[in-house]
Subunit: 369 residues, 2 copies
Amino acid sequence: MAAKAGSTQSKSNRSRIDRLRSFFSARKADALLVTHLPNIAYLCGFTGSNGILLVEASSATLFTDSRYTFQARDEVHSAATSIVGGPLLSAVSTHLKRRKGRVRLGFSPTHLSVAQKLVLDAALLKKVRWVDAANAVERLRAIKDPHELEHMRAAAALIDTVWESALAAVKPGSSELSVAAEIEYGMKRLGASGASFETIVASGPRSAWAHARATSKLLRKNELVVMDQGAILRHYCSDMTRTVFLGRASSRIRRMYHAVLDSQEAAKAAIRPGIAAGAVDGVARGTLKKYRLDAFFTHSTGHGLGTEVHEMPRLGRGEETVLEKGMVITVEPGVYVEGLGGIRIEDDVVVTHEGCESLTKAKRELIEL
Amino acid sequence: MAAKAGSTQSKSNRSRIDRLRSFFSARKADALLVTHLPNIAYLCGFTGSNGILLVEASSATLFTDSRYTFQARDEVHSAATSIVGGPLLSAVSTHLKRRKGRVRLGFSPTHLSVAQKLVLDAALLKKVRWVDAANAVERLRAIKDPHELEHMRAAAALIDTVWESALAAVKPGSSELSVAAEIEYGMKRLGASGASFETIVASGPRSAWAHARATSKLLRKNELVVMDQGAILRHYCSDMTRTVFLGRASSRIRRMYHAVLDSQEAAKAAIRPGIAAGAVDGVARGTLKKYRLDAFFTHSTGHGLGTEVHEMPRLGRGEETVLEKGMVITVEPGVYVEGLGGIRIEDDVVVTHEGCESLTKAKRELIEL
């Protein structure tokens, strides 16, 4: 089974590199320097922690170190591998120096540090002309192919199951950390390589921290509990939030919950190919405004999801990126009221030819435990 | 208890910022731009995922976004907090523009991307003169104070306990992933916020991959199993490796195991304030050479450890950094033979005034299960 997956994977790696080449030849670049590990994994399959990929017109080379000799042999089929003794950048510049004439070298300014650029400039002098390739690989990655969608569906289904099982531990007297431990244990038991991010379990007033971590605080009766969790399965992430109430919710909490759910449903209903990401954010925000709760929605509506937990596109105010079929994004409006607590409801959805489909499906209506 | 810890913490944050100021005033810098999150956490206590800290002669300002309003209020006492609507770098440049005259701005080229520098250059034009502050904060972080050492001892003791309990799951028929799941569950159950890195459980021929991940592969009789795991407890990491054998080890495996343990003990015995990091690596490598196994030792001997799992100093070939009292480093020689498997033994040690002390203490002799 591993062999078959490897072969499918290596074919799609090759076509990804080809698509990238057509991009950089349009920008008149001779080569592209890929330094961001998730981009390297996407293009050539390598999942180690130290690597640089150089894509040229008719070849691609992965530079890595000797810890990864066997792993690279196993994973990398769409590029040659060069095992390097010293710093990878020295090997990259030696490789580039062998080329005739100047090299127009595409790079991503976001993923190259000032220090790395200084090293290359010192070694290559006038040999290189830098070409801003912006987020060329990220743009390819934003649109998931059927093989990737299969992985993302599985990662989403896994987190649905894990969350539902973990609800048994959500009761007064449990600590936030122990609930998070149950959730992450559940992920691994079901085959996930790990959590896509540190699981958030935030209860009572702490639930008003949109990005709280789980702590040793014990859950108490009459508190909101925000649970935000995601698993990595075969390198693809899921990311889902549900908020529950311990006890019987007041009418104020119920109204807040209803507003967030209404906002999330309205945003999902607006998603389709051709709409701007910012317009979806506007729908979520506008719906909360009807409840006079928009001032308590302190983050953006969502983000792309794939092998990284935050990818293109961002669903934020004024974002002009146009949604396309095959993009996978989160939809996660929330309201956070200091002292009272927070409510967030988040699903992963894939943009389809006429709308969107939710990959995470766990119950969204208010659960009182 | 949280309040008291907060107050101790905020005092040490203040003295850290003061020590940093004496560094950057020596470099004739007027201010230091801190963009690396672990450095920000070290200096001002902020543990959110989006922030920039600007340290000036008589003030320090944390720039973050509205998701972290409450969290910053709770965590940050040694700096002012500025909650920013748009990109943080815009707010930083607006802040800098208000200063009179030119600003000699210290920064770390490793932690500033080419894209970030372009944004600041475009906004600040000739206002800023960049000063390479190299790894000023990392050098402070390398030496742990007693409060930090207390956390690191606890993180190490935790991983000892977790590993010993997880041994019950290391048996033929268990998958690598299920063993990793037990280990990471154990960490969280004991109060860790998570794993310091994805737990490695690599069995049989896969143990020869120095950085293998856990997979669904089942453990079999007569295989080596490398387990490399660490926990984050109160923000500090541990990192420990043990290798066990399922069944009765051959004399070849026993000899390899003995060589690695001998190498590790020799390296530990060499550690003391004043020795160069590279010399310790040389001792580990030299010991393996006596067994003609040095060619199979494909990585460096160790690395610094703290709030990040890889910190200064690196214990690699020719590294000139001199060890100092209070540094916490890993000592982890290994040998990896393709087809046969790998053996690695790793402890976390703190450099003391006359040698070093092991923080991880789990049994190092060969365990046959």
